[in-house]
Amino acid sequence: MKNAVGREIPDFLLEGGKEVYQGKNYMDGKYVQKATPKTRRYEKPQESKIVETIKDALIACGARDGMTFSFHHHLREGDFVVNMVMKAAIEELGLKDLTIAASSLGAAHDLIADYIEEGKVIGIQTSGIRGRMGQVVSEGKLKTTAIIRSHGGRPRAIEAGEVHIDIAFVGAPTSDCVGNSRGIGGKSNCGSLGYAMTDAKFADHVVVITDCLVDFPNMPASVEAIDVDAVVVVDSIGNPKKIASAAARISQNPRDLMMAENVAKVIASTPYFRDGFSFQTGVGGPSLAANLFLEKYMDERGIKMGWAIGGICKPMVELLKKGKIGKVIDVQDFDLDAVNSINQTPNHFEMSASQYANPANKGAFVNKLDFVVLAALEIDTGFNVNVLTGSDGVLRGAPGGHPDTAAGSKVCIIVTPLVRGRMATVCEKVVTVTTPGDCVDVLVTDYGIAVNPLRPDLIKCLDDAGIEHVSIESLKEKAYSIVGRPDDVQFEDKVVAILEARDGTILDVIRQIKPYTL
């Protein structure tokens, strides 16, 4: 069946009541029965929940074949936890048929590709999938169909019981002996633990893995002891150098700066740019640089930002410290400046992924966003964005909070160069739709700006401000005139992954890659 973004969704995926994507806000007003975990009572007082090894924790939680283990990705490319746990489960306990439900996975988890090929790991549910794991899943080697969700779609699915977590593993920079965990105060700090919070509340069992045991009580705790079964102390939960990068530098590339300036111009031309406005930006070159230009407009107009959310990095923290932002609410930290600021700088708060972006709760932060500035691997003439699959059709990205912020915000701006090498970023049809075009409002490229025809109000704003804009079709033609018209990527029939829209409907499918022959 064809969905609202024109993608053909095979009927067998719709068995059991799954629906195809129908457009934004389709699920609004519907009721959901939340799932509840089956948890163990610890009535008899425990002095400590510390067990010797991950294997012991797995045994204590009744780990067995066919279970679903969950992980968060706050340790990013420095993460050791996923591999440590899966190794213990598969190589020490001999478990098989396991499913990994992670908030994201990356090149740090190449080892899991082996377990997929061996048939030990049979299910993957994640936002990001990259490296060797992306390759083997794209080659059709995972036994079941992978499920890709946005950061808001994931807590929605967990709360609705669409993914039932048997054991949640929380890599924690600090924990006390009973599992009160924080993202700061240790040697592998990651700041916010927002992606782990829903897991801890909805998993049957929760295991905290830390490399820095601190005195009880570790407060304020991101994951609370009341939800934790066991605590394991290991040498290291991750490589700090890869967990939080040194402060991301603002791009000096003139092309990025030009695009960033145009983003700020577009923002300043809208009525939403007023005292107390709200903002989120990605950490890509031009998106990040937009902060710089936005500050100029804020100063000129004598206005301040009310609040900012998202993955947080240095430029946002600096604006907060300068008093130019009222509050920063933080689901994830990208650099040391952000890690060292959360819960330390006044008005820099932590939030859960559900609070951030879940479309099925009673009002996530994204719903109150005025502006979001995002990047894209590809954007097509229907304003549909791909941030997941490469030009060869292989899984190598993550929807992350892209679809959530795009849907929630009043103005969603995509900023991207028109071409990257020989790749046309603006194209006729994206390989995979990760953010539907009805959520994307403005495209800023180095060759011009285009506004989604669904937003005549914004077209008027730009016209009134004298900002030139063109049709997205003309940008596509410009791109093709430089790089040539690309051939369609060829796939086999087999569906290797489902791309779930944030509301749980099916937005697109990813098929097995076909070896290319000339």
Partner: protein, 100 residues
């Protein structure tokens, strides 16, 4: 033009291509690898063959390692590699017309 000895042009930088030509008895043997194979492999092949034809090269082993080069870059690299293979790159380059 005839490929008389092994020659190379281009780099492995992003948006460039490295083209190697070697003499061969008969026919063109073409090997292409590309970072944009799935979308542009067909066009890369066509561009390289067209350029060789314009240069009137009828035999040789040609290897292209493409890193997302535009057509104009590909043409220039193929042309240069062929010129170098027959000592035409120092003097007597037939500018303006051979490569369109």
């Amino acid at each position: 033009m005839q490929i008389e000895k092994n020659a190379m042009a281009g780099t492995l930088e992003s948006s460039d291509a490295m083209v190697t030509v070697e003499p061969a008895e008969t026919g063109i043997e073409l090997e292409i690898s590309s970072s944009v194979m799935n979308q542009y492999g067909r066009q890369i092949k066509a561009t390289v063959l067209e350029t060789l034809e314009r240069l009137e090269v009828t035999s040789g082993k040609v290897t292209v390692v493409d890193k997302g080069a535009l057509d104009c870059t590909l043409k220039a690299r193929v042309e240069c590699a062929v010129f170098r293979s027959c000592e035409k790159s120092a003097a007597g380059i037939p500018w303006g017309g051979v490569i369109k």
